[in-house]
Symmetry: C2
């Protein structure tokens, strides 16, 4: 065993920055901010409106208590039956707190000052101090206590992960135009063979080449044909620069629902380190990991329970058994400082937040801060105020707070880190139970389709066996597939699912493999409808497989195009 070494500073990755990003400079007006703190100073410098003129005197909300949802077990090694499968969950909205962001808070500590005078004024690019410091501490001490490089990572708030990804791409890629720029200058980005493509598609007009890496049920393959090492070792420079970026969703992978274990992470990371690839880890579902699934799936399929569950041992603990039980981020093995992680409140609070954060080594965060100054400036103060008040809570010095009786004061407290962890733990429980309500176990034994139960996230990735369809010899597979998609939307099936082609990084994958898959999301529909929809799906497949004439297929599409 190697002797423990003292932490080293992260590597210098400035050679990865784009030309534009290298040239960015700090906003010249920002240098005056330090003078704002001179006592009694008359600030005629900033172009700020007066807070008196904000038309909001308070912002308020009824909010859930952190224990609204029931957690599921962290280590359900002996669970072989569905969790709570007989009762639907209804929230106890009577157990709620009322939170208030006042116009002016009496506290002077900027880390505690949550008021409209601050949060509705121009703010710091990295975030208003109370929320920024909460998120920073949560990222550094709770989510990622093991980041190996010296002094750990820095964070900056983002407007959600689409925005975060867009800024990271700005930071690390140059525009490239076919016919104008040298092919050898074309940049590339690695991603999973089936991937969440909204961000990637958005960066394709910049000339970025997308390079898929083969996956299995755990995620990217480190070795073997089409695996990461294979692609990087055998890269043909005549087609463009070897990829220096990887985009990956490792937990509840979208669309396949897989979970990348620690051991596999280490193998992939070592290859990225060898070939100098930066890792963009987009992790919206980090808390939605379903440890009950391996056993439940085995039980449903009537196969032996899996032995030796994956172990995720890391030296430092977060202090929260739930967090410690989760597969860790790439950050926790990031000796080089090459991981840029994207977090969002979209799945843990609400997508409408448009609020998240980016975690990476400080020199990278500094460049992203410059990009933020030049674009979004900061996430809206409205969402920052409401989330800060929810997570951090009213401070005892507030006049309104002191007027309340003791019981009310207790109810008014913010969630704090404990409450936040309890909330996401409850969310995991709810989504895990919801997922296990899918009633397809028996049907997955048929020849018509198959799937792995998702190990995390919100999606089931269904592989259709269209070659077993009665018309398979007469109608091309992709045509049967698109007709089946239309068939699903029609009476009595009434189901909307996402076609596999949507998740194919290249036209080749779409043509060869994409049409065989559909992604089904079990998160958005009402819980009572999860079973209903899965039954509808099973029924639709069964009836679709009874279709024996091409005319019937054509009629389905006719109805579609008329509508």
């Amino acid at each position: 065993m190697a002797a423990p070494t003292s932490p080293q500073p992260p590597l210098d990755f400035s050679h990865h920055f784009s030309r534009v990003t290298k040239g960015r400079q700090a906003n010249s007006l920002k240098k005056f901010y330090r003078f704002f703190a001179i006592p009694g100073i008359g600030n005629l410098a900033g172009g700020l409106p007066n807070a008196t003129f904000f038309p909001y005197d308070t912002l308020e909300a009824q909010t859930a208590r952190p224990d609204r949802w029931q957690p599921s077990p962290n280590e359900p090694s002996n669970i072989t039956r569905k969790l709570d499968s007989t009762s639907l969950e209804t929230p106890d909205t009577s157990a709620a707190s009322h939170i208030t962001v006042p116009h002016l808070a009496a506290v002077t500590d900027p880390l505690q000052k949550i008021d409209l005078t601050t949060f509705l004024q121009y703010g710091l690019v990295e975030g208003y101090p109370p929320l920024f410091s909460f998120v920073r501490q949560f990222a550094r001490e709770t989510l990622h206590p093991n980041v190996p490089y010296l002094n750990g990572p820095e964070v900056i708030l983002s407007c959600g992960n689409t925005d975060g990804y867009s800024k990271v791409i700005q930071a690390f890629t140059n525009e490239w135009t076919p016919g104008r720029d040298w092919v050898r200058e074309r940049e590339s980005i690695l991603c999973e063979e089936f991937a969440y493509l909204s961000g990637i598609q958005a960066s394709q007009p910049k000339g970025l080449q997308v390079v898929p890496v083969k996956i299995d049920t755990q995620g990217m393959l480190p070795s073997g044909p089409g695996g990461l090492e294979d692609i990087l070792a055998n890269w043909d420079e005549r087609t463009g620069k070897r990829p220096h970026l990887m985009y990956t969703v490792t937990i509840g992978q979208n669309p396949t629902g897989s979970l990348l274990p620690l051991q596999r992470r280490k193998e992939l990371y070592a290859i990225c380190s060898k070939y100098d690839v930066l890792i963009i880890e987009d992790d919206p579902y980090f808390c939605l990991q379903y440890p009950s699934v391996p056993n439940l799936e085995a039980a449903a399929r009537g196969v032996p329970l899996p032995r030796d569950p994956e172990v995720h041992t890391l030296p430092k603990k977060s202090g929260f058994p739930f967090i410690d039980s989760l597969v860790p981020s790439y950050l926790q093995i990031d000796t080089d400082g090459r991981v840029i992680r994207l977090d969002t409140f979209s799945k843990t609070i609400a997508p409408g937040c448009r609020l998240g954060w980016i975690t990476a080594q400080p020199a990278i965060i500094e460049r992203i801060l410059r990009i933020t100054e030049a674009s979004t400036a900061q996430p809206s103060g409205f969402v920052q105020a409401m989330v800060a008040e929810l997570l951090i809570g009213d401070q005892p010095a507030k006049v309104e707070f002191m007027r309340k009786n003791r019981a009310e004061q207790k109810a008014f407290r913010g969630w704090k880190v404990d409450g936040w962890v309890r909330w996401i733990e409850g969310l995991r429980g709810s989504y895990e139970r919801r997922m296990t309500r899918i009633d397809w176990a028996v049907i997955s034994k048929t020849e018509m389709y198959n799937f792995d139960w998702p190990r995390g996230g919100m999606f089931v990735w269904v592989r259709m066996c269209f070659d077993s369809h009665p018309l398979a010899s007469q109608v091309p597979g992709p045509e049967i597939s698109s007709t089946f998609w239309v068939y699903l939307t029609q009476e009595p099936n009434l189901l909307l699912v996402a076609p596999g082609q949507t998740f194919c990084p290249t036209p080749e994958i779409a043509a060869e493999e994409g049409w065989k898959f559909f992604r089904l999301c079990f998160a958005a529909v009402e819980e009572k409808d999860v079973e209903l929809c899965s039954e509808r799906f099973a029924h639709a497949v069964a009836t679709f497989w009874t279709i024996k004439s091409k005319k019937e297929l054509e009629d389905i599409n006719d109805g579609f195009y008329d509508g």
Copy 2:
């Protein structure tokens, strides 16, 4: 007089789009949205969390009534005394409404549905329907009823004007790197000789050359040396492409406080049309126009009152005398469709909103929508919900609303367009009175500094006459200027002002002219401090001009660098 012609479609400006912007395509997942509306459809397609799991049961606020602030006259032709100069304004916060955004609203009309199930879920890129339609109608019918091209402009919400500017620059400029790209490909942007540079500086790393246009007390000069025509007609293509973009703040120009009259607009627009320049009109202060100023200033200076005030006659009226009295946007004379206007709620609601909108011809808005999909996705649902509830208000069908008594129901109504116009009219009144509290009339007659009273916005642009300083022959002007800036921050002066160099688009202007100016903002300090600060400034100048030894100047800077 020419016969009125029927409206023509806007011109095609696709040749202005950047290479990346031309290549953008619609998000491939968005095409499924139309299926979401099928009755009874089980939506397993979108990767949406369930609204049940949002931890907010309501969002609420105490909000001002629209008549909180007193308007000032629209046509104060006979005003020669300061407005309300003896009493400070204090808001009547008891006259407030309580607004509530419920978790689920009973209304089905998407234009009226303001609830958390909608606004905290993923939304449409252009904005959630109720707020988007309010803003669109306000822009098309109230603010700009005269846009001359066929069918008028389109709008899209932005995350404020920094974000809006960043997107417009993405739409219309290509990256350019010195030493790598041909000089002839370098793009340029026109702006005022003294300008708000945050956005422009942010786009300089993209290689964009900044080209200043000479200004006078009204704004850009159409003709004469350094005027717009002079620059464009005599452009030297060897230094890069002739500018195809203009960035301009025409109302309450930042930093000079000028107001570009309609006649001047027409002259500048004709030149832009002749040389195919797109106009980016950044207009955060559109409602802060101060018609009392010409008379007040003349009275204070003891000169004859100005005759023949500028007239802004346009054929269609908004229905609001206040709006009709304002200098109109470039949009209202935009026959070609070459104006891209940036609006923000930063100065009319609060900067922390990070919410605004872009108005331009539909084909331009469509490209900006594609850029938005790939970056911010949408402004936060929290601010959209709170602003929608403020402006549009609770709908009668809501259960909570029906439970209230009649008086409460009245108090709960949203502002509607009438209320919104009344609010910004009151804001204008408050800022106009606040500005006239500046007590410099008599001092402006001295030789030490001079300025024009601002015709709009939040700033006074003060020109210092450092050549009248006792040490002018021994110490370079820029050095006296920077020492004076430090002197202002020290006891007993305690003033922070923005140095003129901060607003200089080129190093040459900064070196030759910038150091002679300071920008003073009267908006941010408390109203009672406006007079105090102006007195402090006058006193600081007077005492600074008594300094007769270089040693004293050096001592001032010493203290600064120690601090």
